[in-house]
């Protein structure tokens, strides 16, 4: 190696180390130093969540590369039993959760009093008003609803909601019932709000197969049993990763996206660790981690997940007021229209 090249190498090395230090400092400055220290002392966190288990594990792994001193214990349940458990534990004064993430905002609102109202993420004001549920719950994963298509069987990709009304698709499309949870309800809400009252009726005339959750729908499309169906992106991404011929299409009308909501409990044994986790999860860095795992962030400036083929790139953030008010009546109406017994 020549002297010049050694100089160059040294310079490059110094520059890299310097940049890395600067970058670490810059990132560290994003988070409150006192909170980091307090969280370090607590060293642990109990995180109740209704999100997908694999996503949670990957997310916590990313958090731990940043803050390795906080051991996160995940307690994962589907949303209804999670809410029931939190309510029962709180009633018995034995709530063990420091942090909770729910996928249904209505449920979250009912339990509002057991969560800390003194905490807000540093960038709370950056989030759109529609995603601000209350002063206790903060947006975490943006669950985007797409059209999942079997690309081995469908040559022309849908671009608009009306494309799913093609008579050739009759009996070969599917959807998750809106009563199954917050994300499927958001998708149904968007269809009716954007396309008008009769879109549900027209789609019902297509005799879609209805599913209680997104995974069997994903399986039906991936196997070719169905040609396409409405599904959350986080359910499509793992199937795509296997190499299956499926695509996730964001339609021109917008990509219905409802946020999962996170809150720190009032009785948290590790409040600083819980707050640090939420600080990180709601930050640009945390939202980028979510995006990598298939969530569509509602934080402005974030890119869309790579698993999704998007026409318009427009995220339709579910307005919480409508989400909450319309849910009981419209879900019952939908069930009747589609012959779903619930």
């Amino acid at each position: 190696m020549s002297r010049n090249s050694r100089m160059t190498f040294k310079t490059a090395l110094s520059a890299t180390i310097g940049a890395a230090l600067l970058s670490t400092t810059a990132l560290a400055q994003n988070f409150d130093a006192q909170r980091i220290e307090a969280a370090r002392k607590e060293g642990a966190l109990t995180f109740y969540s209704a999100n997908l288990p694999e996503l949670l594990q990957a997310l916590v792994a990313k958090f731990n590369t940043r803050f390795p001193f906080v051991k996160v214990e995940i307690v994962r349940l589907a949303n209804p039993p999670l809410i029931a458990r939190v309510e029962a534990e709180a009633t018995a004064n034995r709530l063990t959760a420091d942090l909770m993430e729910t996928t249904d905002l209505n449920d979250a609102k009912k339990l509002e009093n057991i969560f800390d109202d003194a905490y807000a993420p540093p960038n709370a004001k950056d989030y759109p008003a529609a995603a601000q549920i209350s002063k206790r719950f903060w947006p975490m994963c943006g669950a985007a609803y797409v059209v999942m298509v079997n690309t081995a069987l469908v040559k022309t990709m849908p671009t608009k909601l009306d494309d799913l009304l093609d008579p050739a698709l009759k009996g070969k499309v599917g959807t998750v019932v809106p009563g199954a949870g917050g994300t499927s309800w958001s998708a149904a809400l968007m269809q009716r709000v954007v396309k008008g009252e009769d879109y549900w009726k027209k789609f019902a005339d297509q005799k879609p197969l209805t599913f209680q959750s997104s995974v069997p729908l994903g399986t039906a499309v991936a196997s070719g049993e169905l040609l396409m169906g409405f599904a959350p992106l986080i359910a499509v991404a793992p199937i795509q990763k296997q190499g299956a011929p499926v695509a996730a299409i964001g339609l021109d009308e917008g990509i219905p996206t409802s946020v999962t909501a996170g809150a720190v409990t009032k009785t948290a044994k590790n409040p600083n660790a819980a707050r640090l986790f939420l600080d990180w999860a709601t930050s640009a860095e945390g939202q980028a981690a979510y995006t990598e795992l298939g969530c569509a962030s509602v934080l402005p400036g974030q890119s869309l997940p790579t698993a999704m083929k998007v026409n318009s790139g427009k995220v339709w953030v579910t307005p919480f007021a409508e989400y909450a008010d319309r849910q009981p009546g419209w879900v019952a109406e939908w069930n009747k229209m589609y012959g779903v017994n619930q």
Binding site: L52, P53, E54, Q57, E73, I74, V75, R76, L77, A78, N79, P80, P81, I83, A84, R85, E87, A88, E89, A90, T91, A92, R94, T96, D104, N106, D107, N150, A152, G179, A180, G181, L209, T210, F211, Q212, S213, V215, P216, G218, T219, A220, A222, S223, G224, E225, P238, I239, Q242, G243, A244, P245, G339, V340, N341, Q342
Partner: protein
């Protein structure tokens, strides 16, 4: 007291009065009753309380002063509930008929014909017990989904015009029938083996043909045993959630169990409604169990006692190869084809199969699903947790069963009948309902049981106690009275007599009870479905979770893993039980030897 226990108790001498009728005896009964109250009665009470509230006992709005019958009435008159119940009657009823035909055929084949390899067929006929119904339903959903099921892909390649559709009433009935046939087979084979064959012999001497003998003599004689087996099969399938959940949901065929599950897990959940529907399910199941016991103890007990003649073996001539063929077809349908389907999907990178030729595109096969599965920390945790729960439940269960069995069968302590009634009560309570009642019972008690493996152990113990009790009381009733009496005469106390005499000679029954509890608690999910979290996940619960949140490849891979672990652990348990039995026999011989030597 159960009928079997009544008969046994009548023939067995009571333990010395001085030890049992005193204060210690009463305290012993009180302690057992208190234990059973916590294990069975208290959770059932909470379930009833939930059904008579508007919000369920977990809610902050729950008040004991606001109990009413509104939800019970609302569920009884709800169209979906009625439809779900009707569907359960149809699928479980017809599934039982199919199980009866298959089970009876196998019993006749192994007990009354000269079919080659009938002993092997007898063992093979029990193989479906190693395939949990949930796994069977998953496998058949892969084989028989209407457009792209693997069997349909093969049928399409042959140019045949028809297709299978497992997402239908027929699909549910088929899976129930095939996978619950071993229950009928066990009952029917035992009845055929034990029946007095002199009637069949007389018919043969009178020149009656073998088939006519079968339908006019054999079948009527074992009819009560068959009726009892059919009712048991019907009652057990009525409480199954997995099969209708996998095959019925897509076809909009709700069953009573999927209806309860939807109410409980729905959005928003209706806990009180779920409890009310559960109460109806308990009542229906309870009636079925009572009827089954009545059948089992009435005519059957009379007709199937002692035997004066060895049963005549029916020479089938060339037809024996047909019966052999039918046995092989059953094995293929019940075990081989479903396992091959699971392996095909588990080892394939993704599920899409464009054509028959594409099934053999080996470039698409790999270990990805297994790699993903073992990269998931919960996979090994679920196996480990299952081992802990299985072993703990089996250990506690066998001790409790022995204590209860001994008290009920071999003592005349006041209150022993109440013990018998309470201990056998859960047989009429479907597993899913046990789970709900345990959730409500223990979450509010501040002893830290909820969210631990402990609550899974207790729920499994409560649910499988009656099954193990049946085996235990039978064994205790057969124990020699002289040995126990001799021990008392020699001045040995009750506990020492139990330890030195009774336990060694009834070891096989204790081991059988332990093995049964172990297998059921690592195979079934119903009792623990509402009680687990990711830290306390068990194998069958992990499978349920994968069905809800993961790819079909992972589900298939885990199903195979579960079947392999289940078979492996059962084999280990069986070897341990056998070894224990040998030790027990050796100890028994040692105890008996002096008498023999004196003689």
């Amino acid at each position: 007291m159960t009928d079997a226990a009544v008969r046994i108790a009548a023939t067995v001498p009571a333990a010395p009065a001085r030890g049992h009728r005193g204060l210690a005896g009463r305290l012993w009964i009180a302690a057992l009753l208190a234990l059973l109250t916590g294990l069975v009665l208290y959770p059932m009470f909470m379930l009833l309380l939930g059904a008579m509230s508007s919000v369920g006992p977990l809610s902050a709005d729950f008040s004991i002063w606001a109990i009413n019958f509104d939800r019970l009435y609302a569920i009884a008159t709800h169209a979906t509930a009625q439809r779900a119940l009707m569907n359960s009657f149809i699928t479980c009823g017809l599934g039982t008929v199919v199980a009866l035909i298959i089970g009876l055929f196998f019993a006749w084949l192994t007990e009354r014909t000269d079919t080659p390899g009938k002993k092997i067929i007898g063992v093979v006929g029990l193989f479906p017990l190693f395939v949990p119904p949930l796994v069977a339903a998953i496998a058949w959903s892969l084989l028989g989904s209407p457009r792209t099921g693997l069997l349909n892909t093969i049928i399409a390649a042959t140019g045949l015009p028809f297709r299978l559709n497992m997402f239908s009433y027929e699909g549910i009935i088929f899976v129930f029938g095939v996978y619950y046939a071993p229950y009928v087979y066990l009952f029917a084979a035992a009845a055929l083996r034990n029946m007095d064959a002199s009637l069949e012999e007389a018919a043969a001497i009178a020149g009656v043909g073998p088939m006519k003998t079968l339908f006019t003599i054999t079948m009527p004689v074992i009819a009560p045993a068959l009726g009892s087996a059919a009712l048991l099969c019907f009652v057990v399938t009525l409480g199954v959630w997995g099969v209708p959940a996998i095959l019925g949901t897509q076809a909009k065929i709700p069953s009573i169990t999927t209806y309860i599950y939807t109410l409980f897990q729905g959005n928003p959940p209706d806990h009180a409604g779920a409890a009310a529907a559960s109460i109806y399910l308990v009542l229906i199941t309870g009636m079925g169990v009572l009827l089954q016991r009545w059948l089992h103890s009435s005519r059957n007990a009379v007709t199937v006692t002692g035997k004066s003649t060895r049963p005549r073996v029916m020479p089938l001539g060339k037809w024996k190869y047909v019966t052999l063929g039918v046995g092989i077809v059953y094995l293929l349908v019940a075990v081989v084809i479903p396992m091959l389907a699971l392996m095909f999907i588990a080892f394939r990178r993704f599920i899409f199969v464009a054509s028959f030729e594409a099934m053999f595109d080996f470039s698409l096969f790999g270990l990805n699903n297994f790699q993903n599965l073992f990269a998931n920390p919960y996979t090994m945790l679920s196996i480990w947790n299952s081992l802990i729960v299985g072993v703990t439940t089996a250990a506690l269960g066998s001790v409790l069963c022995f204590a209860l069995g001994y008290t009920i069968v071999r003592t005349r302590l006041p209150g022993r009948s109440a013990l018998d009634v309470v201990a056998t009560l859960p047989v009429a309570v479907p597993s899913l309902v046990i789970g709900i009642s345990y959730l409500w019972a223990w979450i509010v008690v501040p002893i830290g049981l909820y969210g631990t493996l402990g609550i899974l152990v207790l729920a499994s113990l409560a649910r499988y106690l009656p099954d193990a009790m049946k085996s235990m009381t039978g064994t205790l009733g057969q124990a020699h009275r002289e040995l126990e009496e001799a021990s008392w005469i020699c001045g040995t106390g009750v506990l020492a007599t139990i330890a030195r005499i009774i336990l060694p000679i009834t070891w096989s029954g204790v081991a059988a009870a332990a093995l049964l509890i172990f297998v059921l608690s690592i195979r079934e999910y119903g009792a623990t479905l509402f009680l687990y979290n990711n830290r306390t996940i068990l194998m069958p619960l992990m499978l349920v979770q994968l069905i809800e949140v993961s790819t079909l490849g992972s589900v298939a891979a885990y199903s195979l893993l579960q079947v392999a672990v289940l078979m492996g652990l059962t084999l280990v348990g069986w070897v341990i039980a056998k070894a224990g039995k040998r030790i027990g026999t050796a100890r028994k011989s040692k105890h008996i030897q002096p008498e023999g030597a004196n003689a």
